[in-house]
Amino acid sequence: MALLRYESQVRAPLVAGDKDYHQVTEDICRPVETRPTKAWWIGFSISVLVLIFGIVSVTMEVTYGVGQWNLNKTIGWGWDITNFVWWIGIGHAGTLISAILLLFRQGWRTGVNRAAEAMTIFAVICAGQFPIWHMGRVWDAFFVFPYPNTRGPLWVNFNSPLLWDVFAISTYFTVSLLFWYSGLIPDVATLRDRAKLKWRKLFYGIAAFGWTGSTKHWQRHEALSLVLAGLATPLVLSVHTIVSFDFATSVVPGWHTTIFPPYFVAGAIFSGFAMVQTLLVVTRKVLALEEYITIEHIDVMNKIIVLTGSIVGIAYLTELFIAWYGGNAFEWHAFKENRLNLASPYGWAYWIMMGCNVLSPQIFWFRKMRRNLFVTFFMSILVNIGMWFERFVIIVTSIYREYLPSAWSTYYSPTIWEVGFYMGTFGLFFTCYFLFAKFFPVIALAEIKHILKKNGENFKEKMGELESETVEEFAEKHGHDHGA
């Protein structure tokens, strides 16, 4: 009877613990349906406090002007745009996981995609704060939209990369939000069906948009997912490309570089995966989801980190080489004096960037390290520090000493409100994340069931029974001769 059996031995199951469908539902819905733990309350409170500090920081800036930050006549952008690019970059992993990996039929993505997509949304919300509040006259921010107006032929400037940003980011946010939410609908419906309390029924009932789980619903859901994945895929590449245009299309030595689009995209994915790691290493532990977000997931994502980190490293070196080889004195000065020179005011920032982004990820060539949670967590933090510094290095070390030596700036360091604004976006991010983890399943319930090995296991179990039977026994049991 062994001929009846074929089993691939290549992969370990993506969900450990021999779960059946019901068990999966129970596990994933548990954090949503039980009372929040003490740890949740502490984390949530801290996040809200930090968010409030951020709100105060922004209020100060809006009340008193951008002079509340330490930017100056030479350094027009500092922490604000650094943070903007950093947060936007963070978002990219979510889109990559949900869209590109969906198209490539990577089953393992189902364990992490929900959290990663949520992270994308929250990161884009955080990122969006910076270009808005960095404006000198934020109350006129609506000028950036090309709306019909009574001001005569006054229109936005389609030449400006900042305007491209407006479209790129709003599109990105919209598509990401739709993608995330459309994925949530079947899960929300599950929660609705399980709800016992009236408000939960009402809340999840509304949020589920009347999902019944009919075949027609599923069919449309699948189609929509594919369409959105198709839309989101180019966005993974385009958003950061356009963000990089803010710099690449300028005349500032150190910004004006054609390598920026691919380099920014690689960097974004790099930092995004690091952020996913940071979040999931904690989430899986706290919410007891180790069997869904397994060490395999961590391992795979660490592989992506070492790959993208190395791409980024090559980009750094290429950029450096071209700066020298290109023979433009100003550009070479930006690299040699403003960055490479450790004794220059921001030389340290360049070397932190190099250390964190290029050297440290190389540790993930070792399987043992890839599968070590502490190393992973530590590295994910390092990578995010490094990627923050990458943006800081690009923005500040380019402009603080560029063409005219007379305009070379004094030392720039942030004020309490600049730091507060940045911290505030962490507050915003984690407040959102805590609420998300409390009210929605952090793992895509419906999707992960697709990759459960339960069917196979059942089959094997039954087959095993069959195989152990003799022909006679088989005939005995399954024969149609029900006793003459």
């Binding site: 100060m60 009340t63 008193y64 002007g65 951008v66 002079g67 509340q68 930050w69 330490n70 930017l71 100056n72 006549k73 030479t74 027009g76 952008w77 960095h134 404006m135 000198g136 006259r137 934020v138 006129d140 000028f143 950036v144 006054l154 229109w155 936005v156 400037n157 030449n159 400006s160 900042l162 305007l163 407006v166 803010d246 299309t249 300028s250 005349v251 500032v252 023979g327 433009n328 004195a329 100003f330 004096e337 004794a343 220059s344 005011p345 402009i399 000493r401 560029e402 063409y403 005219l404 030596p405 007379s406 305009a407 070379w408 700036s409 004094t410 030392y411 004020t415 309490i416 409100w417």
Partner: protein, 1048 residues
Amino acid sequence: MSQKKYWQGFGEVNDPKNFQKKVKDEFREELPFEDIDSKGLLDAKAPRRDFLKYLGFSTAAATLAASCKTPVRKAIPFANKPENIILGEAKYYATTYVQDGDVIPVLAKTREGRPIKIEGNDLSLFTNGGTSARAQASVLDLYDTYRNRFPSRKVGDKFEESTYEFLDKTIADALAGVSGKQIVFLSSTIVSPSTKEIISKFPNLKHIQYDAVSYAGMLLANEASGFGRKIPSYNFDQAKVIVSLGADFLGTWLSPVEFAAGYSKGRKIDEKNPQMSKHYQFESHLSNTGACADERFTHRPSQAGAVALGLLAALDGSVTAPAIDDNKLKAGIAKVAADLKANSGKALVVSGSNDMNVQVIVNAINNAIGANGSTIDWTRPVNYRQGIDKDMNDLVADMEAGNVGALFIYGANPAYDYHSAEKFKSAISKVKLTVSFGERWDETTSLCTYNLPAHHYLESWGDAEPKAGITSFIQPTIYPLFKTRPYQTSLLRWAGNTTDYDTYFRNYWTMKLGTADAFDKALQDGIMVGAGGTGASYSAAPVANAASALASAKKGGKTEVVLYQKISIGTGTGATNPWLQELPDPISKATWDNYAMISMAKAKELGVKLDMNYEYYPQKPVFEFAVGNKKVQLPVLVIPGMNADTIAIAVGYGRAESLGKTAFEAGQNVYPFISFNGTTVDYFAADVSITDQNKKQKIAQTQIHNSYEGLVEVVRETSLATFKKNPNVIPEYRQEMVEDFAKSTSDFRREATIYPDHSQPGIKWGMTVDMNSCYGCGACVVACHAENNVPVVGRNEVLRYHDMHWLRIDRYFVSDKNNPDDLKGVVFQPMMCQHCDNAPCENVCPVAATNHSTEGMNQMAYNRCIGTRYCANNCPFKVRRFNWADYTGADSFPNNQDQWIVGKLDDVVHQMNDDLTRMVLNPDVTVRSRGVMEKCSFCVQRTQAAKLKAKKENRVLGDGDAKTACQQACTANAIVFGNVHDKASEVSRIREDNKQRSFYVLEQLHVLPNVTYLEKVRNTDEIIENAEGGGSEKKPETSIPASLNKAE
């Protein structure tokens, strides 16, 4: 005749009475609106009209409740329109800026009866229509909130407001009681002939003129040399060789505007036959003038006599040369002497020393080189400074001895700037009647019993005679703002004359000129040139004595200190002016404070590390400098080109609180360091001890990096010899670019870009800046401040690099590559918006708030700006300025100037927003609110006004109809602006004539600026190699003070 009746309806025929009544009723029938209860509309519970009332009320109430509290601004229209004032149209009055003997003929621009801007008077040939920074800023003094507003007298310790009637009577009574004692009028130099007449007619009045920075040594030396107690006119334009022995004649010495006008003529280069005057400077610290010198030699302040003697000895051997151990200095003296000899009759030596003996030697030198009668004009002696130091000393002695019964003080502030101020303060208490005419509560005014504040010059009538035979008139441009009175009127009254000065002045000149019409004409022109004097001949008699006195002069100690005036603050009179306090010093680029300038060698000796931190952080180490028992603690700034053992400190700082928040707490007073040598006052101290205070103090500099790093794209400078040898460096560089980027059409402008070309069919505005003429004085910077309502941000904001200057003067030091302390030259580069035709700022603005005009101007639409600052980041010239805070009070949000944790605004910002101070604002220029970007507009309000005027007069716009404020202010004609499409315009002509020196900053970026610069040429024989290289290679010779950039 039949009577027909036309009727329309039966009603009209049958019931005409009722019909007529109805016709008159507007609503003949009930309006078809009825409430549900079928009552009439007006009887309804909430009738329609009431609804509208409620709607209106609730909207208004909601608006008020939501309350955007709009600050109340008072605007009072003319009840009766004055005959000569047309709203919106500027009127210009010729008047004269007079400050302690400084005289600059100017035009005051008034709008709606308020003077708002000072311009040079083009009819004044000796100043070439130029102005100084201080003259430009003087209009702000008129609106100073700290001016004395009413007459007052001291009662107990306090001053009480009084009236002129009462004070006239009281003072006249008091004067009657001083019999036997002296009545003294103590003033700074008085240049007004009519005032001098009043003083001379005052019975028994002793007039003592006292200058805070004195030229007594010169006056006495000239007297000894047979010229009389006079200072001659100097013709710098006639001199081929100019030697300055420590005279900052372009910055602060005597009449810098006049000298700069002459000097700059000799610095213009004709490319066909390149030559220029040769300027040698011997000095102790790097002065503004020294920065322009072709060759500089430094010496200790105590060596000034030795240098002069050495020079004279080398020239004619009439004296023995003193021993000079500095070989470079020695060689310099020999070289200069040879050059002077070779240019006899075309050379000039001036000295800034206040030592009579030094000036005697200088007279001998000038005689030896035939300067008298050629470069020195004794027929028009100048009246700028007349004080004799000994007179003041005698006065203080008399006061102490109780010999002075009454003391009137105008313009002099000895309680602050006298070398023994403490002595003066105690002596003044022994004078029974003390009267000050001070416009402000300066240190001396506070000590007097009576204060009768004088007018600001823009409120005054008056005259000034800067030079023999040249008179410049002062006429009021505004009714006196406060209860002030000309001090001349007081003097007239107390002398028993009841006419006031206004009438006296009018009569004086009408009589002199013959007719009232002639007087009116003179007032209108503002300046009147009459015959000069006859001159005098030189006598060598005092030379031997002077030489021996100098030879035996005491040698200095290890370190010496020299006091100098800043171009902005001067002797201290500019200290109350926010524009001047915020004007960066041409050399140090520091604002708001004084400091000790030291050499790099000294820095090393004192243990000041010139590392990265020194440059990038504003905190500079503080040292205590002690001369005898007088001490000050000041931060140091390390400046190349200083004499190794000399420390230079600016006077005029450390003012009393009563002068206002601008002057108070800015720097330290170093006047106590000056000393009286028996005949004159020395502005140096030959022995200073220095102790490290182990603390730091911030200095607000607007530029921190001192070298242009050899970037020839930014700054082009060369030597005359190199330029002659290789004149086509710049054209060749351009040719190279054309070959690289415009291969097919050779049209660099169009081919080297993907952007379309702006069409500029009519006018195209352009500017050219001659870096050879610019001497960095900063008049243009202040003019720009005044013209364009550029905000003052205060020390703390400058420290945060938030200064708002639309126009700045970049200053670069060029040093010897091996020894950065050995300064080879200084380059001044006025930098403003370059109005690029392919502007990088324009295409990055998301809302198109900055855009290009058809006349080639890069424009800002402030209302559209949302403040992303992308334009500023992308501006290669870094000329865009962002409103980091509500500096101007123009924001619509209330209470946003009371920053607390970060970015607290200085008091001066609030002072500049005072209703009184805001009267100085130019109504033609928008006051920018917080959060918007601003920058040089090429004075677009002026070009628009000029175009409008030409249009009204139905003519073509002429060259010079529109002048930018900076161009107008420049004495040296370094800035020329105009229509470059007009081939006959000055700007086109200069560009055409100077093709070999004309360059664009960062031309390789293809931003296509509309500002050209003319290369700076130093008149030396040095051949700068690699200069033909162009491109982006660095020139190693002009490399930077390397130690300023590298960490140690």
